[in-house]
Symmetry: C2
Subunit: 426 residues, 2 copies
């Protein structure tokens, strides 16, 4: 953990850097797998499941039976927690429903937008040490609320060909239509192109390792939309001298434990709390099961002391953190000034893990500074806004001249003529 | 022009194809230019302006003087038309402003979204035979309404180092901050990375040739957001037997004149109108200045007769046209059933050129079937929706247990601990 006190603004760019991220060097590895799945479908998927997940699968799709069994394997406590989280995610995302309003821009010329769900979406849930059932909820619940007709989920099976019951349970609760035991590049390919078993989808969501990220990037160039570019997860905590060092340390560590490339940053105007926070981090770290990962990620984490609140705000907007936690007395004022962030956590009792799991906001958020241009996943991510317009004969009389003039000046005769032929009949 | 009558659904996939589109083969050509501009800034931009636009530029930025002069070179008629269009685009896009609502998902847990403008955006306006001032309005007006602080525009100059006055006038009316005489790959690079003259932006918008498209794709992988993937422009007209063949022909041709790779499709249940439309197309074509381009593009255009209205709707949703013109008596009913389209034009007096120029809707729309997952450019394109949440001590008491349970089951101790340390203090 690096501690930097009162850096000049010239030194900021270095402090704003993130752990390196460049998946394009993986494109040559990823491309053949994509192409084989595109050409051979399920056969290629099966081959790569053997190769990468060490499993020989008869059925790629999780059976109804397996889903029913899963329920018995998930504790009542976890079932209840998943239902609570699902309820809150549903409430918050349902509040984001969009209704376009009709606007008469010129007499007789009416324009409006209509939200229509993306018909088929694909969700990718990584495997690994922990079952990310929370991500299932974060992606499938809004997809359902948006009205997506087909919600497909791919996740790698374990060596016995099984998917973790908590993932199956969350998928069932959230209303996923079809679950496939497919991981990695081959999962992205299957959803992007479709196979005998897996429907082709129009947009792919979800986190993954660098191969999954590279595969998503490649298929997004031409074949299918994706949620957003991905990078390592990160948190910035802003704190003043009254903030509780234990709370700061806990938020810091809960980011750091995600992975060795995660980044946590504390930005404060109070030198006074620095030592307390460092001690609290050291104390809490000892008790963590993922201590080794967490320590590695702490090695590129930073505590930065700045001169005043304005500097803190400027630094934050330049960093554009995925998660921003504001533990300051005047957290509402500071939050007002945030221009670049994925999700903002306000006040002492609002840990990032609330948004990661159960408060209702989405946890699929822009990393790597992408918050400067991207929103996190929200209901909009699952819809398109189609524009409609209706022009009456009076409308074309009113607006036709302007259209004709502009078309003529862009040297587009036929565009002008489309108005002329209509005006002639009036 | 191909005329296909009553194809079976098995034959549809072929009819749904578009003129080929694969810019990834240009990546190796584009990448060195991007890298040189990234490394050398203005010097590389100047070098490529000499090479590709045959012009030696002293100042890359258009001067205030040039902008003032432009006004005198644009006819009053065109000035008025541009102002009318600008007013309508402003009205429609201003109606899209978003205000998030606060949602208490659990007692003491409040979540909301806030729209914040993307601070810096870059607009690319292609050069070529016609000055695309309409695209300037379509991109700069919503950028301004959204509240983007810096709106940068790049467009290639002519051989004398000038930008068409109508483009400068439209940029001035729409409120562009800085205009640069830079085209092609070097323009995309300059906006993606920044140079001594050109500010780095966070999102790049606008059409362009295949090199520009390839450059946008490459920079979008990591460095900057883009509006959407691009392909050749296209229109689908749906018509019944009462539709006016001259109107259909005019709409058909106004798409075809865009470029040799444009595509126009007429889908109808009425065999009766086919000959009439063909004759009308032939008649109108003769008088067009861009006859040669238009003829080439007609060679991959299609008239398709289907059995019934349901087939027309299914075909349309599978094709997902950029522009959809519905010239049917029951156009409102049919429009209700549209699920995949960029922009829909309803009724006899609503030509595509209205939306291309002046009705108020945006003309930057998803091509190539991307309408299945993408919206056209709209106010959302210029903002991010940041989520905020505030949890009271009561809130964390209510929700803390569910968070702890979920975190423990995902084996994320520190996530659980971030709740535990807080609950301990209550």
């Amino acid at each position: 953990m690096e501690i930097i006190k009162y850096p000049s603004r010239e030194e900021w760019p270095l402090l704003l850097t993130r752990p390196a991220l460049n998946v394009s060097m993986l494109f040559d590895t990823v491309r053949p797998v994509l192409n084989e799945v595109r050409a051979e479908g399920d056969a290629a998927v099966r081959r790569y499941e053997e190769k990468f997940d060490n499993v020989t699968l008869s059925d790629l799709q999780v059976s109804e039976e397996e889903i029913n069994e899963a329920k018995n394997l998930v504790s009542d406590e976890l079932q209840q927690a998943i239902r609570t989280a699902k309820g809150n995610i549903e409430k918050f995302h349902a509040s984001q429903r969009f209704t376009g309003q009709k606007v008469e821009t010129t007499t007789g010329v009416t324009c409006w937008q209509k939200a229509v769900a993306i018909e088929k979406v694909g969700l990718y849930i990584p495997g690994g040490t922990a079952p990310l059932f929370s991500t299932v909820l974060m992606l499938a619940v809004p997809a359902r609320i948006a009205g997506c007709k087909e919600v497909v989920l791919c996740t790698p099976p374990d060596k016995d060909g099984r998917v973790h019951p908590a993932i199956l349970f969350a998928a069932e609760v959230a209303g996923v239509n079809k679950i496939f035991k497919i991981g990695g590049i081959q999962a992205i390919a299957a959803m992007a192109y479709g196979t005998e078993s897996v429907p082709k989808v129009y947009k792919i969501f979800g986190p993954g390792n660098q191969y999954v990220t590279a595969a998503k990037q490649l298929v997004s160039l031409k074949d299918v939309a994706i949620d957003m570019p991905a990078g390592p997860s990160e948190v910035e905590v802003i704190a003043d001298e009254k903030a509780n060092p234990d709370f700061i340390a806990a938020d810091f560590l809960s980011q750091a434990e995600h992975g060795v490339d995660s980044q946590a940053i504390l930005v404060t105007t109070s030198e006074y709390i620095v030592d307390k926070v460092v001690r609290a981090i050291e104390g809490q770290l000892e008790k963590l099961s993922r201590k080794e990962i967490t320590e590695k990620s702490l090695s590129h984490s930073r505590i930065i002391v700045l001169d005043n609140e304005q500097e803190v705000i400027d630094f934050t907007n330049q960093y554009a953190p995925e998660h921003l936690i504001i533990q300051m007395e005047n957290y509402s004022d500071v939050a007002e000034k945030v221009e670049n962030a994925g999700s903002v956590f306000m006040g002492a009792y609002t840990p990032e893990s609330a948004g990661d799991y159960a408060s209702g906001t989405n946890h699929t958020l822009p990393t790597n500074g992408y918050a400067k241009a991207y929103s996190g996943v929200n209901l909009d991510s699952f819809i398109k806004k189609i524009t409609f317009q209706e022009i009456t004969s009076e409308g074309i009389r009113n607006l036709g001249g302007a259209i004709q003039t502009m078309a003529a000046n862009e040297l587009l005769d036929a565009h002008r003529n489309a108005v002329t032929v209509r005006l002639k009949t009036l």
